[in-house]
């Protein structure tokens, strides 16, 4: 039986809902917001560069970075003491803070009882909730005086080493570095934890199944796998330590010199801005030099963060490798 062919009618679809331009408009608005982030960073850079130029008209860039005298009253703007202080405090912070942070990350992800995991995590994160100025307050009025005695003792005992010996002042590189260490523990720990939790279970089980103790399993399966990510985390901590301003300003003593010892006063790129900006309003070159210090700080932290984020991203998205490092053969 032949099916009667019925020509379907010309048909139209129900009208679309809402204005047709709404979607492109929304997409455009959101894309602009996203682009704004990139533009902002570029703009930061450009503006800082422009405003710091007056400083470089007086002091060449090389002299700015290597000059050892920062004496605004004599128009001397050598940022070396600032760089020195920034670096020394950051290194102390890393030396103390990173091992502790890794230890907490290890303990929380691999060793602690299940129930303790959440409370411990929250406690470590609470360290980050304390504002910088409160760390400074506590540091200068409680920590630094309390450490004076032990610092003196260590200073005298190790006075044959460089960077030790001489007088000990209450605000000094070491105390600053110590408080910085406490401040970077949360971020280094959090990222290390994230990285460690991506270790594939079968790597760990392979080690345990061979009769490894828990620590041996960590050494052989977890740590090598997380190495890149932990380095990234440490670098992020470094970036944080370098950029920290307020706690450092309170604790470092603000002496624009290259300190002779770990327990003497110093200065950092961030602290100099916090301290001197008020006075510098009148002096154009001084202001520009401070902005130059800010530019230098920006470049440093940008570079560190760019590299650190690369490592951390790679570690967090890495798929499992075939054989745990150290177990082959």
């Amino acid at each position: 039986m032949e099916a009667a062919q019925i020509t379907p009618t010309r048909r139209t679809l129900p009208r679309g809902s809402g204005p047709r331009f709404a979607d492109p408009v929304l997409q455009g608005v959101l894309a602009t917001a996203a682009a704004a982030v990139l533009l902002l960073i570029g703009f930061f850079f450009v503006k800082l560069l422009i405003e710091s130029k007056p400083a470089f008209e007086q002091t060449s860039i090389v002299h700015f970075v290597t000059g050892a005298d920062w004496v605004p009253s004599q128009k001397l703007y050598g940022a070396l003491p600032l760089l020195f202080g920034t670096l020394v405090t950051a290194v102390i912070a890393l030396l103390i803070g990173v091992p502790v942070a890794i230890a907490t990350a290890l303990y929380i992800t691999e060793l602690c009882p299940r129930r303790a995991r959440q409370p411990l995590t929250i406690l470590v994160e609470l360290l980050a909730a304390v504002p910088s100025v409160v760390y400074g307050l506590w540091g200068i009025f409680v920590m630094a005086p309390a450490l004076l005695g032990p610092e003196r003792a260590v200073n005298n005992a190790l006075s044959f080493l460089p960077f030790f010996g001489g007088t000990v002042s209450i605000p000094n590189y070491f105390v600053t570095g110590l408080v910085l260490a406490i401040m970077i523990i949360p971020i280094v720990s959090a990222i290390s934890r994230e990285v460690m939790s991506t270790v594939p279970r079968d790597h760990k089980e392979a080690a345990l199944a061979l009769g490894a103790t828990r620590w041996e399993m960590i050494r052989v399966a977890v740590l090598p796998y997380s190495r890149a990510g932990i380095s990234g985390a440490a670098m992020l901590g470094l970036g944080r330590a370098i950029g920290e301003t307020i706690a450092v300003t309170i604790l470092i003593g603000n002496a624009a010199v290259i300190g002779k010892g770990v327990f003497t006063q110093g200065y950092t790129l961030a602290a100099v801005q916090a301290n001197e900006f008020g006075e510098a309003a009148a002096d154009a070159v001084h202001k520009a030099s401070l902005i130059a210090a800010g530019l230098l700080l920006f470049i440093l932290t940008l570079a560190i963060n760019l590299v650190a984020r690369y490592y951390v991203n790679r570690a967090e998205t890495a798929t499992s490798r075939s054989v745990p490092v150290g177990m082959a053969g």
Binding site: A36, V37, K47, P131, V134, W138, T213, L297, T301, N305
Partner: protein, 292 residues
Amino acid sequence: MSARPVLPVVSSRRRLTDMLARGTTLGLTLLALVPLFLIVYCLLSKGLGAWSVEFFTSDPTGSFLGDPGGIRSAIVGTLIIVALASAFAIPLGIAVALYLIEYGKRSLFSNTVRYFVDVMTGVPSIVFGLFIYIVLVATQVGGTSYAAWKGAVALALLMLPVVARSAEVVLNLVPNSLRESALALGAPRWRVIFRVVLPTARPGLITGSMLAIARAAGETAPLLFTVAFVNGISTKVTDRMNSLPLQIFNDVGQPQDRLVQRAWGAALTLVLMILILTLLARLAQRRSRLQS
């Protein structure tokens, strides 16, 4: 008769190393927490003493000899500035995250934006203050040099990457099947976003925003040369305004006992505000997790 199987012995050296390692990591973890407890203890023991009705209801007098006054203007200032900064940063941050998740996905542009948002979280807070100083304060935008709203903008810049990052994580968790169902019903994408995606993500967005607010409330450096310091209370955002972190910073520098005590009291207030915000945020997060 078969001998009883004997399991290989784990050498005592290995056992010792294992125990040592466990002990060390535990010890270091507890060590990391010591400062937290110390700070809380100091805040309570030194700060509570400063608290009084006057403390919260009077402004700093700025005088070195007489009564130093309380911190009312600082509290009010912090509330205003942080609220303003949140009003800037939270919508903008969520907008960036929306773009990355809903439209950009894996394109080169959005990967670049994502990367730099992450990088931006590492920019020192003083650089934000410096930038706003150059762009808004030195140029006297709006007729004034220092102003509360300018400080709010600096804080907003600081909050932006934090909000964007956490919002992105939350929006990514919205199951794609929900978007598909809405699209299949004939909804244009903007309706899908506003009526399905955002409401579903709302609890997480709120948590992320509250954590960003808590972070901003404690920041001093961005306010240093954008809002500057003033003793009296002010509610005009075009004026200079006091704020808790600035107040504390100022008082720390003074060699006077009463001012230092005020600093502890103010610090306790600030930490309490931040703590409450943080805990509320975490509680909201847990509740929404239990519900879903």
